[in-house]
């Protein structure tokens, strides 16, 4: 080895170092720039939320996160955005003083002909099956391979417009909602030329996804009002059929186009398509024969039988919100194991008994003077609580500004007591957002941490918020992710449509930007044991509108998670917790041959813990019982 070559290698090393440093610096620039802006706008309050003042940008916005970490991002693929205007057109600002002066068009106004709004290409709801992620879009859907969630891979893009494109998956079938008048039976993009046409499609499409790279349409069930959202109901008592609750929120089409359709008010036409949902039956052996089997009148007055028996629309008195008329459900979430469904039905939240999926029976309904539009519903894992969301402003408006009321455009949390809904509290994204960010409560799902009720939720450009509602009256945020607005000066419709937990990761659909994948990280509000207990839950698939009860495995980490919670609430003395932890560790260390002692010790502790449950406050009592059951399971497995 001579000096010259040594010098050469040092030079190579220096160049490599410089390149690496440059790369790191390049990666840091957006972060630093984002932080700098935060500082500029909020230096006075150091404790201010890091989500305030984030830099705007479609691809380089400032980001803030707590107890969650973004692991992957993919932009929307070709065919799912307009290259000329990836954001579409801005929404005009509101004027609180209702100044509606009409102005003349300026002479030099640029003529922009034939534009399409960004909504035509917006990402919407998502579903999971195995290692595949299905992302709905107003123009179709995209399928991703998420075997490695840190490196999602696009498997196929399916063009089939009609909005909103909500998707659900059951076995080899994918179900999709279509509501717009441009929808076509043949998935064509050109729209429909005539006002009455057999080519138009509004309703529920069914695709065979046996070849996931090339889905085939096998059924297209036409409905009067189209399908804004839908809910799969795989009923435990009927293995031969899959049921779909179709919720239409748009205008009703003419009877000339689809026989029997009427959009008239009930007193003008008792057979109106308003005031109902569509129950569709898909025979699993012959999905091509899918059809509507019922249009139940779930808003009917119990006494008079009038089909418009719920909230008529309008405000609830001085200082209250104006609530939409209950002539539709926006979204329904079912919990088949409990025989229950929660309907977010524009003017009311309703509870349905779905023991017979074709004949849902309303068992309770609630109003809320702070709600504008009952939008979606999520059960907790036990099926003892429901979170309803209020989509005040329809999702296109900035409703999380510091000046917006904290109980408007929020979640309302209800306890289910004796099959009745009992209001407990509100939760709204705690960080104020700008005028340029459409923001309101939107879609989310449960994070399966045993012993706690936790939800991850999308708030459009307000980002993603993870909150604990174990105490239904006092929900608390425990993690978040947020970006700055997509544009610094104008309001565009963008942000997270849905954010759902699936097998250890949070998947978010960004209307304008694409998809983001996150993992939660342990912190002040979530211990490593609690997180690992949630990670230990693996499911074969997930549709957010069809919930099932998760049972945690009897593992040491699940027991440790309960112990962390009892430590947090001081539900057990610290010394007692140490004893149980030590016994668990001894049990884990011992081999099967000599496990009699430690296993018996753990079983004895389980008995004591359970005996102490009745004297404990309700939440700790249920944790003590769950802990005891888990300890017994752990001990049993070593014998």
């Amino acid at each position: 080895m001579d000096n010259r070559s040594a010098g050469g290698s040092r030079r190579v090393v220096r160049i490599l170092h410089a390149a690496l440093l440059g790369g790191v610096a390049a990666l840091l620039v957006p972060v630093v720039a984002g932080r700098a802006q935060e500082g500029a706008s909020g230096r006075a309050a150091a404790a201010k939320d890091p989500r305030v003042g984030l830099r705007a940008g479609l691809r380089d916005a400032g980001e803030a996160a707590r107890s969650m970490e973004r692991v992957a991002t993919l932009p929307k693929p070709p065919g799912f955005f307009d290259p000329q205007a990836p954001l579409g057109q801005p929404t005009p600002p509101e004027d609180e003083k209702a100044d509606a002066k009409l102005k003349d068009l300026p002479e030099d106004h640029p003529t922009i002909q034939q534009i399409l709004s960004g909504l035509n290409y917006a990402n919407s709801d998502l579903a999971f099956s195995g290692h595949h992620l299905f992302v709905g879009n107003f123009s179709g859907f995209n399928v991703y391979d998420i075997q490695d969630p840190g490196r999602p891979r696009l498997v196929t893009s399916v063009l089939c417009p009609g909005g909103q494109g909500d998707v659900s998956v059951h076995g080899n079938l994918l179900v999709m909602s279509v509501e717009q008048t441009r929808g076509r039976v043949d998935c064509g993009t050109q729209g429909v030329k005539t006002a009455v046409s057999p080519e138009r499609f509004r309703g529920v499409r069914v695709f065979d996804i046996t070849d996931v790279a090339k889905p085939r349409q096998v059924a297209a069930v036409q409905t009067c009002r189209g399908s804004h959202t839908h809910t799969l109901v795989a009923h435990p008592g009927d293995r031969e059929n899959l049921y779909v609750y179709g919720s239409g929120t748009s205008t009703v089409r003419s009877a000339e186009e689809l026989a029997g359709c009427s959009g008239r008010e009930p007193k003008e036409d008792a057979n109106t398509a308003l005031f109902s949902i569509d129950v569709i039956q898909i025979p699993l052996a012959a999905p091509g024969k899918a059809k509507i089997v019922a249009r139940p009148r779930i808003f009917a007055d119990e006494k008079t039988g009038a089909i418009s028996g719920l909230w008529p629309g309008g405000d609830h008195g001085p200082g209250t919100q104006k609530t939409a008329t209950t002539n539709q459900c926006h979204d329904i979430t079912v919990f088949p194991e409990a025989g229950l469904a929660a309907g977010a039905c524009s003017g009311n939240g309703i509870l349905l008994d779905i023991s017979d999926p074709v004949k849902p029976v309303r068992i309770d309904q609630v109003e809320d003077r702070n709600f504008a539009y009952w939008h979606s519903a999520t059960f907790n894992n036990d099926g003892t609580k429901i979170i309803f969301t209020d989509e005040w402003g329809g999702g296109t408006r900035p409703r999380c500004r510091a000046t917006d009321l904290p109980n408007w455009g929020a979640n309302a949390i209800f306890d289910i007591v004796d099959r009745k809904l009992k209001f407990a509290g509100y939760y709204k994204l705690p960080a104020p957002q700008t005028e340029q960010e459409n923001c309101v409560a939107h879609n989310g799902s449960i994070v399966p941490v045993p012993g706690r009720d936790i939800m991850v939720q999308a708030w459009y450009q307000g980002g993603i918020s993870v909150f604990d509602f174990t105490d239904s009256a006092n929900p608390v945020e425990i993690a978040f992710f947020d970006r700055g607005p997509v544009d610094a000066t104008k309001l565009y419709t963008a942000g997270f449509w849905s954010a759902y937990w699936y097998n250890g990761y949070v998947y978010g659909t960004e209307m304008a930007r694409g998809i983001d994948i996150f993992r939660l990280t342990p912190g002040e509000h979530l211990t490593r044991n609690e997180l690992e207990a949630a990670l230990s839950v693996q499911v074969a698939g997930f549709n957010a509108q069809q919930q099932s009860r998760i049972a945690w495995p009897a593992t040491p980490v699940v027991a440790q998670a309960y112990l962390d919670q009892l430590a947090r609430t001081q539900g057990l003395p610290a010394a007692r917790i140490d004893v149980v932890r030590a016994a668990l560790e001894r049990l884990e260390r011992t081999t099967a041959a000599v496990n009699g002692g430690p296993a018996a010790e753990v079983e004895s502790l389980a008995r004591d813990l359970e005996a102490g449950a009745p004297a404990a406050p309700p939440r700790d009592a249920s944790r003590l019982r769950a802990l005891a059951a888990t300890l017994r399971g752990v001990a049993a497995r070593t014998r």
Binding site: M1, S5, P92, E94, T189, Q190, V192, K214, R216, Q217
Partner: protein
């Protein structure tokens, strides 16, 4: 690259001198090293081209368009997808937006009469609600027209003599009667006329969707659906105030 292989060569020969049988391993090692190096170079290249190493891959997935139920799904290129026809706004969409601006503007003229002519707080609140939502929608419609380079209507277009009134709109005479009324008479007349006015908006939405090729852009579809829902809600409320429910 040459310098590196040179150094590997030195390493190889020194190892080779100690144990001749290692040379075989050495060749394998060298091949493996080269392969690894090639992969590293490839991955760095891939990451640079993707602009972010943490992003997944979005390239080379098929783009497909299904057919009607029972029909085959076809594979298309991104270029073909970009060239696919999309529904565009047409004269009926423009007329709907222009007409609805004038229609909403008259509602604002009506609500402006309320504070001085009623003593009912409920009436004031109703007027305020109508004002806020209609003013907001006017701005949305103006922006929609501006973005498309279409003409904004003159704010007094609906007063023009001889012009055909849009459904539900008040005649000059009706407007005069409303302005002249007071107290309970005003309240009743306002509610009756505003119900009629709102029902006219529902007819306009019906006509939009009954026109060939109209109402197909996502935004205009969503907007027309919102107008329909909002006005129905307000009609319900006003009919309840009139004691008709």
């Amino acid at each position: 690259m040459p310098k590196l292989t040179n150094k590997i060569g030195i390493l190889q020969s020194s190892i080779g001198k100690i144990r001749p049988e290692w040379i075989i391993l050495d060749h394998k090692f060298q091949a493996m090293f080269r392969l690894c190096l090639a992969w590293v170079v490839l991955l760095i290249g891939a990451c640079v081209s993707l602009a972010s190493c943490q992003s997944g891959s979005a390239s080379q997935a098929p783009l497909v368009q299904p057919g009607a139920p029972g029909q085959a799904t076809r594979t298309i290129t991104p270029a073909e997808a970009a060239a696919l026809p999309q529904p565009r706004h047409g004269p009926a969409d423009v007329r709907f937006m222009q007409g609805m601006i004038a229609h909403h503007a008259q509602a604002l003229e009506m609500t402006a009469l309320v504070p001085a002519r009623t003593s009912r707080a409920e009436m004031r609140r109703l007027a305020q609600r109508i004002e806020v939502s209609q003013a907001d929608e006017i701005r949305m419609m103006q922006r929609w027209l501006e973005d498309r380079g279409e003409r904004l209507p003159d704010r007094h277009a609906h007063h023009a003599h001889g012009a055909e009134l849009m459904p539900g709109m008040l005649t000059t005479d009706e407007m005069g009667r409303l302005a002249a009324a007071n107290g309970d008479d005003f309240d009743r007349l306002f509610l009756e006329l505003m119900v009629k006015h709102h029902e006219g908006a529902l007819i306009m939405v019906d006509r939009l969707f009954a026109t060939d090729g109209a109402g197909q852009d996502a935004e205009i579809h969503a907007f027309a659906s919102d107008v329909d829902a909002d006005q129905r809600m307000e009609i319900n409320r006003m009919q309840a105030m009139l004691g008709r429910r």
